[in-house]
C-alpha cells in the first residue's frame, strides 16, 4: 500500500487557470473603472494620472474586460460540456448548483456560530462558494452586457432607446460596487482569512487541498471521497 498522500487535488489546471485570468482581469478593471465612477473623489485624479488619463484607463479597462468575457465564455462551454456531454448530475453533490442541503447548511452554520451545534458537513461546494460562483456568473452577464452597451453607445442607440444607456450605466456601476465589495469583504475573508487557513489559502493556485483542511471544511465530501476510494482512509 502506497504512502497516504496528505493532500487532495481539488482544482484542475483549467479551474486554476480560469480563476487566475478572472482574478487578474478583475483587478485590472477594478483599478481602472472606479476612478471614473468616483471622478469627484480625491484619489480618483491621482489614480487616473497613474494610467495616463481617462483614455488610457479606458483602454486597459476594455482589454481586461475582453479577457474576462473570454474567460466567461470558455467557462460557459465547459459547463455545457459537463451537462450535455459528460451528463453530470446538475443537482448532485459535485455540482455548484444550489440545492436543498444548502438551506440546511446555512441554518447549521448560524447554529455553529453561536455554538448551538456542530459545523455542518459540507459537500464539494459550500453555499458561500456557490454564491461566489453565481455572483461572478450573474455579474459578468450584467456588467458585460451593460459594458458593451456603453462601449458602443451609438450601436446601442440604433438597437434600443437612449434611455437604455442610462440603465446600462446604473447596472455597470452598481454591479461593480457589488462585485468589488463582495470580493474585498466577503470572498477574500471566506477564502483566505478563514480560521483554519489564515492568513492565506493557496489551494486556488496550487489546486492541492491538505486533507486536514478537507476533513474540517468539507466533511461530507471527504467522507464520500474516502468511500469512493479516491482518498485513502486515515491509518488508525
Amino acid at each position: 500500500m502506497a504512502a497516504r498522500k496528505d493532500y487532495y487535488v481539488r482544482f484542475s489546471v483549467y479551474h486554476r487557470l480560469s480563476h487566475f485570468v478572472m482574478m487578474v482581469t478583475f483587478i485590472g478593471c477594478t483599478l481602472t473603472g472606479p476612478p471614473l465612477k468616483y471622478s469627484y473623489d480625491f484619489w480618483a485624479q491621482s489614480m487616473m494620472s497613474f494610467w495616463g488619463g481617462v483614455h488610457n484607463a479606458g483602454l486597459v479597462h476594455r482589454v481586461m474586460a475582453g479577457f474576462m468575457v473570454a474567460d466567461f465564455l470558455i467557462h460557459a462551454l465547459y459547463l455545457l460540456y459537463w451537462v450535455f456531454i459528460r451528463r453530470a448530475n446538475v443537482f448532485g453533490p459535485d455540482s455548484i448548483m444550489f440545492r436543498k442541503k444548502d438551506i440546511a447548511d446555512l441554518v447549521g452554520m448560524i447554529k455553529w456560530f453561536f455554538d448551538r451545534g456542530d459545523r455542518p458537513k459540507f459537500e464539494r461546494y459550500t453555499f458561500w462558494e456557490k454564491f461566489d460562483w453565481f455572483a461572478v456568473f450573474w455579474g459578468i452577464a450584467m456588467i458585460g452586457t451593460s459594458g458593451f452597451a456603453l462601449w458602443f453607445p451609438t450601436v446601442t442607440g440604433q438597437l434600443v432607446s437612449g434611455i437604455f444607456l442610462n440603465v446600462a450605466r446604473i447596472i455597470h456601476g452598481d454591479e461593480a460596487i457589488l462585485a468589488i465589495g463582495w470580493i474585498l469583504f466577503v470572498h477574500l475573508y471566506n477564502s483566505h482569512l478563514r480560521m483554519n487557513v489564515f492568513p492565506m489559502d493557496p489551494v486556488i493556485f496550487t489546486g492541492k487541498m491538505p486533507l486536514e483542511h478537507l476533513k474540517h471544511d468539507k466533511a461530507a465530501w471527504y467522507e464520500r471521497l474516502v468511500r469512493e476510494g479516491k482518498i485513502q482512509p486515515e491509518a488508525e
Binding site: S39, Q45, F113, W128, P153, G157
Partner: protein
Amino acid sequence: MGGDLNSARQLAKEFTCSKRAAAAAVLAIVLAIVLASAALAASTTTLLPATTNTTAPSGSDQAAGSEDLTTRCLTCHSQEYLGTVQDDKGTQNLYIDSAAYHDSAHGLLPCNACHTGFSHDPHKMVNNAEFFRQTANEACRNCHDDQFEMYKQSYHGTLSRGGTAAGEKAPICIDCHGTHAIQKVGTLEYKQSISDVCGKCHGGREATFLDTYHGKAITLGRESAATCVDCHGAHSILPVSNPQSTLSEANILPTCQKCHPDASKGFSTFLVHVKPTSTKAPLIVFAVAVFYLLMIIAVFAFGGIHTLLYIYRGLKDGMYFGKGGGH
C-alpha cells in the same frame, strides 16, 4: 555747560543720522539686487511698480512717465489690504490679483479697455459695481462684436434686457467668462469650470451633468469630453423648448453628431440630466436604480453578517492566535 551738552547731542544725532542713511542705502541696494534678480528669474511675472518701493523715492518720478495705465492702477489695486469696501450697493472688492490678471487672456490690455471712461487721473470717475455691470457688455462688444450679437439674440441676452426681476439676474458676458482672471475658452481649466459657471444658476443641472461620462471625463482631464455649451450652445443659447435651440426636437441629432457621427435618433434620447433614484426619472431607470440599491443592501447584509459571525466564531475559538488548532 548746557551748550556743550547740546552740541554733543547734536553731534550724536548727526552721527546716528548718517548711520541710518548708510543703513538705508545698503538696504536699498540689497533690495534693488533682490528685486532685479527676481525680475530676471520670473520675467513673465510683473512686479509691483517702483512707486511702491518707499525706500527709493527718488526713482519714482523718473519711472512714472514710462508706466502704462495698468501698472498705475495696480499700484493700489494689487494691494490685498485694499480689501472690500461697503457702499450703498453692498460690498465691493477693490483688490485685483495682479498675477492672475497678467496671466489672463486680457493680461496685455490696459484697464481702461474695459473700464471705459477712466483717464490718467486716478478716480476722476469713481463708480460703483452696478455701473461696471451696466457697462460691461458694451465694453466687451468693442472687441467681441460677433459674440455680442449672438448673445443679444440668446435667451440670456433677451432676459437681461427685459427689465424684469429675472432679467436683473440674467447673466451678462462677465458672469460666464469672469472678469480680471478671464481665460481663453479652449483651455482644459476653462472647460472644467463651465459646469460650475452654469451651475451658479442651474445648480441641479450641474450635479446631474457631472454624474455622466462627459462630466466625469472632463473632471479627470479629458479635454475632448463635452461640457454644457457643447450641447446647449454658448452665446446663442436658447431654452430646449425653443425650436431654434441646439437641443430642440429637430436639432438635437445634428448636435450629438458633432462628436458621435454615427448617432441615431434613439441615441439622442439618452438623458443627461436625470437623477436615477428620483421619481421624476423614467420608470425603467428608476426601477433599475432602486432594484440595485435594494440588492446591494441585501447582498452585503447577508455576506457581511455571515463574515462577521465567522470571524466571531474564529476569535472565540482562539483560532487566529494558535490557541485552538482543532479546526
